[in-house]
Amino acid sequence: MSALGVLLRKELHATFTSPIAYAVGTVFLLITGYTFSLTLFLTKVANLTYMFHQMYVLLVLLVPVLTMRAFAEERRADTLELLLTAPVREVWIVLAKFGATLTLVVGLLALSGSYAMVLGLYGEPDWAPVYGGYVALVLLACLLIALGMLTSSLTDNQVWQRPWHSASPSCCGSLTPPPICSQLLAISSL
């Protein structure tokens, strides 16, 4: 296993043994489950438009919770120096942290795929917007994780990072018409 593999394994272990990951997962699945049930019973239409809308907002709010410790924690415990003096490239350290967080987020999105499976079992949803929506969410997650890691590398203060990070994609969204969620809605209604 290469040094990148060793680093990724360590980050995955740290991510999946952290209570924060399970708290974030629980909140994410509870809220999306509620939205799915509510919209399905109210609209009786087999699509995930509102789910994607909801997941966009949830990712913006929850991904910073996962990324805020990435580098700030390493610096606080002085372990970053240990990694930086080991014979590994800095980009591997970043990629390992990015990969571990992305694995968790993709795992959560995959679990939310059970709602799509329910639609598939009991209805006839149009699958192309569903696939497109999930691809967009994975790309959004990549953007948010990258932003979160950037803010984590700039400051030791984990509390300060969250509003800054949550605000930045929101600002980007409001300045870029139409925002990603509107595009998802447009795709879903095709």
Partner: protein, 229 residues
Amino acid sequence: MIAIEHVTKLYNQTPALRDVTLHVERGEVLGVLGPNGSGKTTLLRLLAGALSPTVGQLMVAGYDTMRQPMEARRRVGYVPEALPLYPHMRVCEFLTFMGRLRGLSPRVTATALARVSKQVRLQEVLTAPIRTLSRGYRQRVAIAQALVHAPDILILDEPTNGLDPRQIMETRHLIRSLAGACTIVMSSHILSEVERTADRVAILLRGHLLGVRALADTPDLEALFLSLT
């Protein structure tokens, strides 16, 4: 083994080291002495590859730390003053992680783990989580992670800081036992520590290297330190 040539390090235009030239021979123990803020830690971090010099050249085990950083880092074991450890890991997990990170195969890592745990006397706490260890054991774990890949050069920043007298003696004996097998550079602001452990002493003040003396030729280190600083 170590060649530092006209090295200057600036932090935002503030010099931490100024035109330092220093050579350390294979198997030697060099003590770096100086008051707080004299540039000791900066010098050690430069040698470990955590920092790059603003001006000058550092050669570690024949490798330029700027041009061949990976090769240089493979030959260095570094113990920072703050004892960087992952508290959630067990001692054996942490040492295995550090060994694998430095390119050792799983089989070699297992052998190295047995060797360093015996060398640093960690056998009884190998399966303990690091967060449950005392300061003395944490210090040993930090030294063990620096030795796991059998480096040519060991860099110790204030290795006896915060230890009780017995632990200080044990650390001193450990450093002396490693001398010869690897080149050791250790910093301290305690004269007696350097006097009992090192072969030579380098004295720093406000980033300037004031002098390098063999301790065998220096009967009174305290007087020398006072006369230079």
